[in-house]
């Protein structure tokens, strides 16, 4: 068996997390992030990479094929090789890695974007449920997450206090994140003093939904050396999905995360940081357990999505946050996680290491 081609991350940029991006359309949200990653490597535009893949969701905009407009940000004349996933851009990264490993590209641009403020997100996301039984009930994402949190608490695997602790730590970490929507010192007591919105979830347990975009450039190690830019290696990546039938899942666990972590090789070395895509506070507790993270790991040093949840870009940003810490020399190995679907249905785990 030949060795898998190693993948280098060479650039990453993320927009501010804005509760409302105002008049800007998606192309206007994407372009500054693309410019930033091109500038980090010294590229002109998407003509200078071999492949492009984006992640977005047309339901956020409420328009069929809305993602096609994103191509206007690329400079696609003459034509480029371009693809799209109707998912978080972490899965666009996955597609790009496959493309490079198959030898069909040496470099790739990934971007994810969303303007969730256009619609009522929890209701919009109810339409990702199975179309026969659940979607017609309009079960929203917050209610489903609340059921999951309830199970977790009843089983003794979490408490409202522990969940508030997740939020307090995330907001404190987010003080060092210039793109955060919410940050600051807050006590567990003051978080617990607020009432629940969908019991047992408080508003603070739900990641603030944000408009924005993020972008990344990955390539082969040879290409990264040729470009002469600092890079981090993606040494493993895998994703697994659980059944759409919520009644058949153990919502207090995340076996898909555990399987993806094993396949990505999380346990092959120390985990300095873990950037986890947990849109609800209790989900970070589930994920940390599934990943087997201990005290030696700093969870969500960026504040995670509690600092701002960029729909369809937050997963890619988790990888980007680990990448930034590796190339700055702060850490040598970290784990990035992305999720999709209700109650952590679909999970991607990537391991990044210093070169």
């Amino acid at each position: 068996m030949t060795a898998m081609k190693e993948i280098a991350v060479v650039a990453f940029s993320q927009s501010d997390c804005l509760a409302r991006a105002g008049a800007a359309n998606e192309v206007e949200l994407i372009m500054p992030q693309l410019r930033a990653v091109f500038d980090q490597v010294g590229l002109n535009n998407a003509q200078d990479v071999d492949f492009v893949c984006s992640g977005s969701c047309d339901y956020l905009q409420g328009a069929a094929f809305a993602f096609v407009a994103g191509v206007d940000a690329l400079g696609a004349v003459p034509p480029i090789k371009e693809s799209h996933v109707e998912m978080d851009a972490a899965w666009a990264l996955y597609e790009c890695i496959l493309k490079i490993r198959m030898g069909q590209a040496e470099s790739a641009l990934i971007y994810g974007f969303g303007k969730a403020s256009s619609g009522e997100l929890p209701t919009v996301l109810s339409q990702q449920l199975d179309p026969y039984y659940l979607a017609p009930l309009w079960v929203d994402t917050v209610s489903l997450a609340a059921m999951q949190a309830r199970l977790l608490i009843e089983k003794g695997l979490a408490s409202e206090r522990a969940m508030a602790g997740v939020v307090a730590r995330a907001r404190k970490h987010a003080m060092a994140n210039p793109h955060a929507q919410i940050s600051g010192e807050v006590s567990v007591e003051s978080l617990l003093a607020a009432g629940t919105v969908v019991s047992p979830l408080r508003e603070s347990d739900c990641a603030p939904v944000a408009d924005g975009a993020s972008a990344m450039i990955v390539c082969t190690v040879d290409k990264a050396r040729k470009w002469g830019v600092p890079y981090a290696l993606i040494s493993g990546i895998d994703h697994r999905i659980e059944t759409h039938n919520l009644g058949m899942r153990d919502l207090t666990d995340s076996p898909s995360t555990r399987q993806a972590a094993a396949a990505a090789g999380v346990e092959r070395g120390p985990v300095d940081v873990a950037e986890l895509y947990a849109p609800f506070s209790h989900q970070e507790i589930i994920l940390a357990r599934a990943l087997g993270l201990g005290d030696e790991t700093v969870i969500n040093p960026s504040g995670g999505v509690m600092a701002g949840n960029l729909m369809m870009a937050s997963g890619l940003s988790r990888v980007g946050e680990v990448f930034r810490r590796i190339v700055s020399g702060d850490i040598s190995r970290g784990v990035a996680h992305a999720t999709s679907g209700p109650c952590l249905q679909h999970n991607l785990v990537a391991v990044l290491e210093s070169a």
Partner: protein
């Protein structure tokens, strides 16, 4: 369980979702200007192409377009079709002409109606000008222009369509 189970061949699950659609900064500027009866495009700082309506980027170069360019309401037929069948919910009675038009000074076309013309005489390269609604009816919409009508100017050769200066076309070579 009964012997005969009726096959379920169809269920109806209507979806209603409400959105606050935002056109974007550049399209919003276009709409604000057309509210005032002004056709405003944007020029690419890289290739100098002028786009109307603008989307805020040059799709060819992948760069933001910032410079606004006010364009005249004269243009050229780049392509057209004669619609002969009634379209549901369309108040316009067939036959009518839908045309791809390029304004003078612009490099891409938009679609609008043509009228005050013999449908059989509409042709590529034909010169046209906007017929506007009365100012009191202007709103944030492209149908502030009722339609385009032919004007008495020489035809534009195919290779010059979409490449005319803002000053228009005098039939020069």
């Amino acid at each position: 369980m009964s012997d005969e189970t009726e096959a379920v061949t169809r269920i109806e699950t209507p979806i209603y979702l409400h959105y606050n659609f935002t056109a974007g900064r550049a399209p919003a500027r276009f709409l604000q200007r057309i509210r005032q009866g002004v056709l405003s495009g944007q020029r690419c700082p890289s290739c100098a192409n002028v786009y109307i309506p603008p989307r805020g980027s040059c799709p060819a170069c992948g760069v933001p377009t910032e410079e606004e360019v006010v364009l005249p309401d004269k243009g050229t037929v780049q392509s057209f079709t004669v619609v002969a069948i009634p379209i549901p919910n369309n108040p316009i009675k067939p036959p009518f002409v839908i045309a791809n038009l390029v304004l003078d000074g612009a490099n891409i076309s938009f679609i609008h109606l043509m009228s005050e013309c013999e449908n059989s005489e509409v042709h590529i390269g034909q010169r046209v000008q906007a017929v506007w609604k009365p100012e009191a009816e202007w709103t944030y919409a492209m149908d502030n222009i009722r339609y385009f009508r032919p004007i008495d100017e020489p035809d534009v050769p195919v290779e010059r369509i979409g490449k005319l200066p803002i000053t228009g076309w005098g039939g020069e070579e």
